[in-house]
Amino acid sequence: MKTAQRLWPLALLVLVVIDIFGPLAFGATEPPLSLHHLEHAFLLLAGGVFGIAYVRRRPLSYGDPLWLFAVLGLGTLSLLMMLPDVYGTVDAQPVLHTALHLGFVVVGWLGGYAAERYAPRLGLGWQLLVVVTGIITATGFGSPPPLA
């Protein structure tokens, strides 16, 4: 059990590193838009897991509403990072694209951290927001009508 507890963060980290730096190293092709949205959700979620785990390793003081407002701001920021005007500029440049994906992990980390700082286990609320937003964006955010 303890080995599994030690291994899963490492396994998740390996997955995140492959996902972020894989295309840069191996020149993989761009996935379809809906899968790409899910990929962003995965990166946010993974970042959130690390953020939550980090807070649980140290003494915390909770209750400052600023942490709650940070959660909301970061949620909005994660959506704004997917706007075509932002994304379109970085999409064509592999290094910037990789940096933006790294940005998703950072935003996810901060979101999980901020939520846990407001109240222990509220990180689950952040993760719920990330998962739902990821699924919904994958169903059609930024996609034209099928017949267009």
């Binding site: 909770y62 709650l68 949620g75 704004l80 706007l83 109240a119 719920l128």
Partner: protein, 496 residues
């Protein structure tokens, strides 16, 4: 191992320094919210009078008022029910007024932005703002963007409420599963101190989870619309955005009812002198509502033939599955709580019981409309506003009035003045709703400035009932103001 917690007191001190007590905050929000409801009701009355040819209104003005009335009413009702639930739970869950203040300010800002977009900009594609209508109207582009920013702020305000509620529930009960009282079913979840979440906390947990899901959908919706507003190159699939609009709009309106249920669980026992206990049936009913409420929205899209059939069928099934359990346990629970309890029939308790009736009637009318063979006849007729006015105005709003009456304090004896207010208000309410239902049965289309017969005559009669309703509401607000003043005077005397 979990780290020790250090509770920070700075925030509480800060709240006390600026005089932000829960009572003052809730009282102020109630005053603002009820005034807004009255003003938005006036807008509704003006629309009815125009449809009944009693006054002349340009179609653009009518649709702008329709937009303001719809968006404003939903947002205000969400605000009022949220603060009512917050107030009854704040001590139990250790909720902080400054967090709620942020949520209230965000919603009020959102409402102001929407009001400016509509009243100055003339934005008028109705509160559903179905794509591509917001981008095709005669109104200026700034009003479109401002309106969407307003919706975003309302969503942020509601998210603050949901997240803070969730935090309080986790802090007090150890997790959301305990907040949902699943420990009544799963022994492994049981707490050592034997503490089980009361019914109002179960309702609050369900609202917090589904509220966050709804806000996530709303954020994607508004960001997509704002992106298209900034850059028309941003592609939008009309069916996708329509689904999302109703996912957000339907669910948030629906959640106002479930928020109100939490208020009923907390406040009705104060009138009956009995306690509302949690049991396995409650926990199961609310778990079903938790899962199915966010899946009921497709019943708004039955006429969209390109919609996937599984969504249409799922929408119909979810409507029934989501609505029945929580409604039945709440209604039966209320009746059992009142039966032979020698309840004090005061303004507050009357409003709560009448609201339960409105919830039931509006719910049945809603389920009828969500049943596909009925919807083939009733779709987009006045039956639709009939059902949602029944459960929002005749249900949720009555709970808000009931809460306001309880919050300010009941009169020991209710004289003829109060009885006449109630008669005036309820006669106006029932008559107004009946005209809507009659229009629905006759197939009069909704959301039209000019209606075919018998729409105008029904609207003319309805206008009279709206006037009665608004007179009753104003009288009730005066009653609340008088009571608040006298209780403040008593409070001052006590402290002197």
């Amino acid at each position: 191992m979990a780290a020790p917690l250090v509770v920070r007191e700075r925030v509480d001190l800060h709240a006390a320094e600026i005089g932000l007590t829960p009572r003052r905050l809730v009282g102020m929000t109630l005053a603002v919210g009820l005034t807004l409801i009255f003003l938005l009701g006036m807008a509704g009355g003006i629309m009815k009078a125009a449809q009944g040819n009693l006054i002349q209104l340009q179609p653009q003005t009518f649709y702008a008022l329709l937009t303001l009335h719809g968006a404003g009413m939903i947002s205000t009702v969400v605000l009022l029910t949220a603060i009512a639930l917050w107030y009854v739970l704040q001590e139990q869950l250790g909720l902080k007024p400054e967090v709620l203040l942020f949520g209230v300010v965000a919603i009020v800002w959102g409402l102001l932005a929407a009001a400016v977009a509509v009243l100055i900009g003339g934005f008028g594609p109705a509160w559903t703002f179905l794509y591509p209508l917001p981008f095709l109207g005669t109104w200026p582009a700034w009003s479109t963007g401002l309106f969407f920013f307003g919706v975003l702020f309302v969503g942020i305000g509601f998210a603050v409420f949901c997240l803070d509620l969730m935090a309080g529930i986790i802090r007090t009960y150890g997790g959301v599963l305990n907040g949902l009282a699943w420990d009544t079913w799963i022994p492994a979840l049981r707490r050592k101190d034997g503490k089980v979440a009361p019914p109002q906390v179960i309702a609050a947990t369900m609202v917090a989870i589904d509220g966050l899901i709804t806000v996530a959908a709303g954020s994607v919706l508004v960001i997509a619309l704002l992106a298209h507003w900034f850059s028309p190159r941003f592609p939008i699939d009309p069916l996708w955005i329509k689904n999302l609009t109703y996912f957000f709009g339907h669910t948030i309106a629906n959640l106002a009812i479930y928020v109100s249920a939490g208020v009923i669980y907390a406040v009705l026992p104060a009138y009956t002198g009995r306690t509302w206990h949690t049991n396995k049936v409650y926990a199961l009913s609310w778990a079903i509502s938790l899962i199915f409420v966010p899946w009921a929205w497709p019943h708004h899209l039955y006429m969209d033939f390109v919609q996937a059939p599984w969504l249409q069928i799922g929408g119909e099934a979810s409507t029934y599955i989501a609505t029945i359990p929580a409604t039945v346990v709440t209604i039966f629970g209320s009746l059992l709580l009142v039966y032979r309890s020698r309840m004090r029939w005061r303004l507050g308790s009357t409003m709560f019981m009448a609201g339960i009736l409105g919830w039931l009637v509006g719910g049945i009318a809603a389920m009828l409309d969500a049943t596909i063979p009925f919807n083939e006849v009733l779709h987009n007729t006045l039956w639709v506003p009939a059902h949602f006015h029944t459960y929002l105005l005749g249900g949720v709003f009555l709970f808000v009035l009931g809460f306001a009456s309880y919050f300010i304090g009941e009169r020991p004896v209710e004289g003829p003045w109060l009885k006449s207010i109630e008669w005036c208000f309820f006669t106006g309410l029932v008559g107004f709703l009946l005209m809507f239902y009659a229009g629905g049965i006759e197939g009069v289309p909704r959301r039209e400035a000019v209606q075919p017969a018998p729409g105008p005559i029904l609207a003319e009669i309805a206008t009279g009932f709206v006037v009665l309703l608004l007179i009753g509401l104003v009288a009730m607000l005066i009653e609340f103001w008088l009571r608040a003043r006298s209780s403040a005077a008593v409070e001052r005397e006590r402290s002197a």
